[in-house]
Symmetry: C2
Subunit: 249 residues, 2 copies
């Protein structure tokens, strides 16, 4: 923009970016994570990969170096590049665990990592017009008769907070977590948890969060959100333990 920056970042970089071996790394990870990849298999040659991904060979090499350090692959001069060792603990894909109690725990853990931070940011910079919207969500949860509707409004409440954080990237992360949350298999699991352990007082938690947001108290909002999700976490944890015990019989 300014003259200084125009000089600084000169016309040199503007070329087709391709500059980053990070892209190569990302693509290679995708290849390794693909279901078709058996451990021990030989990858294409570096030159073939470079051609296939449309990336320079030294970018490929840098990325392979990282993957080797991670233990995802090993290379031998003259022989080739190989996957393995036998994928440590088979990097569980989401579809694998979504239907199990472990999936439930992973999800709530992810929310526990993310949402208190969102609440903290929202308390600091949210526009006041979100407060009545959140209140509406609480009210709708209250008077919802079917579970689907209640879940939808709960989800809307949490998203309103995420939006209030004012960071489009974080909102995108939240939406991703939220999409997992609505995975059909997980919904069923949550249903059976709900059946066995009653509703809990999530609504009190919601009101506490709203109060903290209105007060603009970031720490309190984060804490309230943490407590809210933590309660869910413990419910799911005891459920998961019961399940595994039942399986051990």
């Amino acid at each position: 923009m300014t003259i200084g920056s125009a000089i600084g970042s000169g016309a040199s970089i503007a070329r087709d970016p391709q500059e980053c071996s990070a892209l190569a790394l990302e693509r290679l990870r995708a290849i390794l994570a693909a279901p078709g990849a058996v451990p021990g298999e030989r990858l294409p040659t570096e030159r073939a990969l470079a051609a296939q991904l449309g990336i320079g060979r030294n970018a490929i090499r840098r990325a392979l170096e990282v993957l080797e350090a991670e233990g995802m692959i090993w290379r031998k001069q003259g022989a080739g590049t190989f996957t393995g060792p036998p994928q440590d603990a088979q990097p569980q894909t989401w579809e694998t665990i979504s239907a199990s109690p472990a999936g439930l725990l992973s999800l709530i853990e992810a929310r526990l990592a993310l949402e208190p931070q969102l609440a903290r940011l929202a308390a600091k910079r949210a526009a006041p017009e979100i407060f009545p919207r959140i209140a509406t969500c609480i009210a709708r949860i209250e008077c919802a008769e079917d579970v689907d509707s209640a879940d939808l409004w709960d989800s809307a409440l949490h998203r309103e907070i995420a939006r209030g954080a004012g960071n489009p990237l974080l909102l995108d992360l939240f939406d991703r977590v939220n999409a997992w949350r609505h995975d059909p298999a997980l919904r069923r699991l949550r249903g059976s948890v709900r059946r066995k352990s009653g509703k809990g007082h999530a609504q009190d938690d919601h009101r506490r969060i709203l109060a903290a947001l209105e007060a603009g108290d970031g720490a309190a909002a984060a804490q309230a959100m943490h407590d809210h999700l933590s309660a869910l976490h413990s419910v799911y944890l005891t459920y998961a333990q019961e399940e595994t015990r039942a399986h051990e019989l």
Copy 2:
């Protein structure tokens, strides 16, 4: 896995359960966020949406109800469903801001929200074999001569921690953030920041994080990661302020 879970998740799911209005909400959000959507425009009728999305009208209606409460749309009996009011503050898309200092700040803020939590979890449950791998990353950053390589190893270090958290969902979130981080436009911006403000002592931070992880001290790991990213944050913040001041001249 076990017999119990096989019974639980039976062969029944294969049908199209269509149970969730959450799916409808997701799709409708996508429609509303699409670039072609001008504020005030009329959406298709509920029945048309139901047919288009392959979801029951009831589910559509529930989703529309949420969107109406959010202020994204408004409905009038007999008239139809309309977008607007004029999109409050035009929900900035990532492409819009990625090339600006604001994008840099959003990114570091997202990392600041996520990565300390990852470090905390990793300290508690990471397998010890990640420690030498992290040490390798630190060493490679040390002796990297070009920026691309250093960035790659830095990214690998942070990813190793994310992987150590042992939650596939959180790892996915991290990878998403990491992909943003390697956005070409952002890389250019970071380059000019680096040029103006020197390297900083990121390596000391890295070693502090590693020490906390090895000690299994979750709080310390989170704090160290927070400090590490916070330092970056302040660097970018002053840069962003300088930029805007330069623009004001």
